[in-house]
Point group: C2
Chain length 315, copies 2
Amino acid sequence: MNSRSLLAIDWGTSSLRGAWLDARGHVVEERAFPRGILTVSPETFPRVFQECFGDWMARPSALCLMSGMVGSQQGWQQAPYCPCPAGFDQIAANLSWVEPGRLAIVPGLRWDHAGIPGHEQLAHIPDVMRGEETQVFGALRLLGLSDAQLVLPGTHSKWVRVRQGAITSFSTWMTGEVYALLRQNSILARSMPASPADEAFHPDAFSQGIALARQQGSLLSTAFSTRTLSLFERLPSAVLPSYLSGLVIGEELRAQVFENTNSVIIIGSEALTQRYQSALSQYGVTARCVGAAATWTGLWAIAQTVFPTLTTASS
Amino acid sequence: MNSRSLLAIDWGTSSLRGAWLDARGHVVEERAFPRGILTVSPETFPRVFQECFGDWMARPSALCLMSGMVGSQQGWQQAPYCPCPAGFDQIAANLSWVEPGRLAIVPGLRWDHAGIPGHEQLAHIPDVMRGEETQVFGALRLLGLSDAQLVLPGTHSKWVRVRQGAITSFSTWMTGEVYALLRQNSILARSMPASPADEAFHPDAFSQGIALARQQGSLLSTAFSTRTLSLFERLPSAVLPSYLSGLVIGEELRAQVFENTNSVIIIGSEALTQRYQSALSQYGVTARCVGAAATWTGLWAIAQTVFPTLTTASS
């Protein structure tokens, strides 16, 4: 037997999570810390890592793979973006090793959108992700797919296309952030309940927001209906946050091209994936949801590519 | 001679402006005060008005017309929205008199957009304006037009259609507010100069933003390019606010249907009207600009409809 323990780490902007996986890739133990990279000064990454996961790394033959913003300019060590299309082989070849053979950072991905024809600087518009690529590879492994259209909803949602096991293109949508700004900082906030924390989700109002976004042209205009529908007492204040959420997510969905109405994979927390699943159903699109396990499975799958012997015990 | 002096008042959310017009509608004197309706408690409107304009109102036969948020729920006296289509006759018939024959508030307008078919509450989506209707009527009078497509750029831009002297429809765009939120409160702010006050306008970057917004589908996605173009050093930090402004205004323009490429009227401050004029030129649309004088001319034109004898002196 030649198995190694895998320490899988998701080190993002605001949180640090880790899992110790057995030789079959199953989670043995998980830990989470409020030590996102924004809380760590450049020279203290090794110490924070040691404090949180030193005991796991002390195990014989331990291997650690990290994904997320830990590989950014503000992270532990920069892992340059890997261009698309990118599959396991490209990721494995572009790992950024902190300790050769023992501790590595998974590179983020880059994709160039078509930009403005004739503009030298802007003929292509770069797009980037860090961490989501690992979740995508995990979801593909969990679902046994090598072709898919995926969405990772969040502050900055990602829409991702996969062909023959490689991410071929993706795009970023500031959906969650724009919702939060409109909900809390815009004139629309005056029509809504004061505390975002208290609000319940109202599926009917959400669905109405999705439907209106599908009919009309731009969030810049539809968002104002949150105010006027309140002004004319067509919708009560309590449902307006759900309605606005529908308008913003609906704007994101309207811009997508669905290649197969039976194939969108949603990766994320239960609350958000359910919201997207419901929204997609209004477009006649069926979705399957994958939760946080995608990250661990993704790191496990990458580790298998790097060290084919990793899973000797389970094969 | 049967002429009356007109006191024209533009009383908005954050400012109070007034002009005394002679019997030909020419401005004799202007005043401005930092006394927007947000600074005035409900019962003190008469006192604030008296303090600011009491001497003018003491003149024989003085007539005062006010437009703007002074007619809203939070204003001096509510002037119910007048439905579109609305021309001078509808406005005149729906003035909200504070002192009959002497002091009145111009009603705002309402237009119902087509909404979600089959949804009882949302089959129509109401839209509203207060104050802009007066500027539109003023611009039409200044330019001698009775058919036009107009835009009033600002925190909440308005696009307005006029047929045979009546406003037939309009729409609201949260362009200025969304720009300010993205510029100051979003992740994009981190890539840009710290102080919005210091930034110069960069026409090339603005034009690039307009061009990209015209190519691609949604501000939720294009806005993120502000970050990535900075990350990959394609655009310097100093020009990013102008680029982002182009993206947001470009999103507004992309959604418009231009009925006549030689006819858009822009009403607003010089800085904003120039920006819109430049943006419209990228769509092959020629624009004419009208400044703040539109409000006084609009109130004068409404007063003429209410009191046809008002201009005896000049006719």
